[in-house]
Structure formats: C-alpha cells, structure tokens
Amino acid sequence: VIAAKTDNSPEPDAGRTLVGSKILAEEMGSWLRNDSLHLILLPTEHCNFRCTYCYEDFAIGRMSRSTIDGVKRLIDRRMDGLASLAISWFGGEPLLAMPVIEEISQHIVAQAGTHPELDYSGSMTTNGYFLDAPMLERLVGLGIRSFQVSLDGPSAMHDRTRVRADGSGSFLRIWGNLISIHEGSAPISMLVRVHLTPENLPLMPEFLTEIRKTFLHDSRFSVLLKPVERLGGPNDDTMMVVAADDRDRIMDELKNVLLQDAPDSRPLFPAPDICYASRPNSFVIRANGNIGKCTVGLTDPMNNIGHLSADGLLKIDNSLLRPWLRGWATLDSESLGCPYGGMLEARPKLVQLQPALLPQ
C-alpha cells in the first residue's frame, strides 16, 4: 500500500478498494502507529435533549471517579513516545459534565507542557445548547478547538426533532451561540452538521442558503450534510429516512446550494474514508469505563470490547476487537468506512435444524 503511494502508480478501482490511495497510506501511517492515540471520551451519557431519532438510552450518567482516574493514568502511561494525542469529547451531552472535561483536559495540557514533541488536539461533539462564548473560551483554553453541532433545519423544523428533555425547542439558543462564535475570534473550527430527513428536505435549500450567508464566509465554519439513519435505537420504527436511491441526487443539489459562489469546496466537510472504529489505536471510553469502538452501537455487546481500570490499563478482549479491524485485512472501503455496518449484516443467522440433526 505504501509503495502504491510513493511510485504514483494508477489507483485501482477506488470505488471498491482504498488500496493505493494517498488517504489510506496516510491513514495507515497515523492510525496504526503507536505514537498516535485517539480517545473518544463520554464524560456523561446523560443528555438535556431527547432527539426523536436518538439511538442512545442515557442509562449511564456522569463518568465515574475510577474512569476519570483511569483515563489520566492511561495518558500518563502513554505520554512518553507519543507524537499525537487526539481527544474527542462525546456523550450524552458532554457539556453537562464540564468538571470531568476540565479535570482530564487540564491533566493533558499539563502533561503536554512537558512533552513538546506531543501534538495534542481536542474536539467535541455537542448539541451546542451550552456552547456560548464564555464556555467556548474555557474549552479553547483546554485545547478543545474543533466542534461539531447539529441542526435539523430552520427553527420550526429543528424544534420538532431536536427537542429538549423538558419538551421545549432548542434552535434559537443554538443559533445564537453559533452567531456569537462567528462574531468572536476564537481559534476554532466549527462543523455544522445538518441532518436531512424526508420532512425537512423541502426547507433545506432556503435554510442552507441562510447558513451559507451567515457562516460560510468564515473559514472556521464548514457544513456536513448527513441523512438521518436508523441506527438501532428505540426510535427506528417510527422515523422516516431519505430514500437510498434518491440520496445522491438530493445531496448534489444541496451541496450546490452551499457551494454557490464559493471559490472551492472548503465549506463542505468531507466524510472520512476510514472510520475511527477501524483504527486500532482509537478507543471509546464510556462513562462507566467500558471500552468500545463505535459511538453508535452503544448498546451492542459487540461494541463492548473491554474495560478501563483506575490504574489506566485497558483490559481489552482482542477477539472482540478484531472484527472492527477487519478492513485492514481486506482493505475494502466499506469495512474501513463503517465496520459496524458490516458487523450488523454479518450477524449470525439462526437456522432451525431438523430435529433429526440435533444431538440426542
């Protein structure tokens, strides 16, 4: 794979395999090496929202003391020889557990100060409700500079699906926070993730135009268009999703709305070719210390590959880890891009054997 990159040989069928692509070579370099570590931390699994399509069950609350200590000790253990440390805050709503974020992040910043070779980057997926300017400044001070906030359309539509736990809407507060971030000068990157559903599609051209005019001349802002999917949560049976056979056309039309007059495609955030779940040195640390690979299938036993102990040791069952890594063996884009999807398809099929074939 590395050779295919360096000798500039033609790329083989890039639609089916990533062999030979520059991205894969670079990804291999950064995600299979032991001087890189990516931790997705869930400081709480509670949330102040109840989005109608959410797949989480909020059963686990704030990160336990044992897990907080475990994360800090793990980082201590790995600090020497680490060139890249990426911390992604997820939840629940991570900003409901700001003390956890501050404790761990301050520990990392202090360690980074004594390890000048370390490239530390912090990011956060948040619903944006608490992300006002003072909060943003606190987070930037902790090295958390990349953010992802989701919108489901204009106010009337967004407030029907991204509902607060008390049933009230959330759009105006989030939009106001984005405006204040845009008006400030904090050195951050803001990814606005826009969810697409059959219901909100008719409103999207106008809404995306508003986003473009309001934010996209600010180089810190970009947009990811994301059709809502059925991801195994309790709302799967009732939610509507954009039809698969119409998706490409719809996405192209909406991208054109966003890119109008743009000199390049910077405002559009490209979907990653390789999911973090495929990366051996990327781990989800849940609030109770359980270790996973994927932030979607949180209740799936296959996504529970071990436990982080308070002394910073990752007790991982490698037989449960390997299915997530299979893309590195096959190098097909589907397995690397979403290993969980393939695992769902490969679930054991139950076959009722003839009674005569059963052991007596």
Binding site: V1, S84, S146, G342, A346
Partner: protein, 92 residues
C-alpha cells in the same frame, strides 16, 4: 475473530441451532496491549517499518511554533500560519 467451524461471534461454541453464515472476520495477528499499543504480527517487516516510523521532527525553518500543542494538525508536521502568541493567549 475466527468464527468458521464451531465458534460463535462471542468465541463460544456454537449452540445446536446457531449457524454462522458468510463470516469474513479474520484479522489474526493484530492485537492491542493493556496500554493500547498496537501489535501487528503478520505485517511484513518493510511495511511495518514504514508504518511504525515516528513523525519527522519540527522543521527548523519554522519560527512560529511555540509548541503550544493545542492546535489540531499543528506542532510536529503542519504549522498553522501565525501560530504562537495568538493561540498561547488562550492558554493563559
């Protein structure tokens, strides 16, 4: 995870009425130790040496880097233009 021929997805013996179909899981040789380090036993040495090589050091020509280490993609390879005091201000 070898699942063909008698093991379930939990690495347990298949029960009487469970049969696995079309399993492709076979990534023997890759595992992770207790500190999250990746071990790859079945990767050829030349490829592994490239993968395992550390990043290049900070280019000496760069004068903006203050090793603040808080900028994504900055620090050891890619320097953010103007990085330094503006960023450091947020640490203080």
């Amino acid at each position: 995870l070898r699942v063909a021929g008698g093991l379930s997805v939990k690495n347990e013996a298949i029960i009487n009425e469970e049969v696995l179909v079309n399993s492709t899981f076979d990534v023997e040789g890759i595992d992770v130790d207790d500190e999250g380090r990746v071990n790859m036993a079945n990767v050829d040495p030349e490829t592994y040496s490239i993968i395992a090589a550390p990043k290049p050091p900070t280019p000496p020509a760069n004068t903006n880097c203050n090793h603040c280490n808080i900028v994504a993609g900055c620090g050891t390879v890619n320097m953010v233009k103007g990085c330094g005091s503006r960023i450091r201000g947020y640490l203080q």
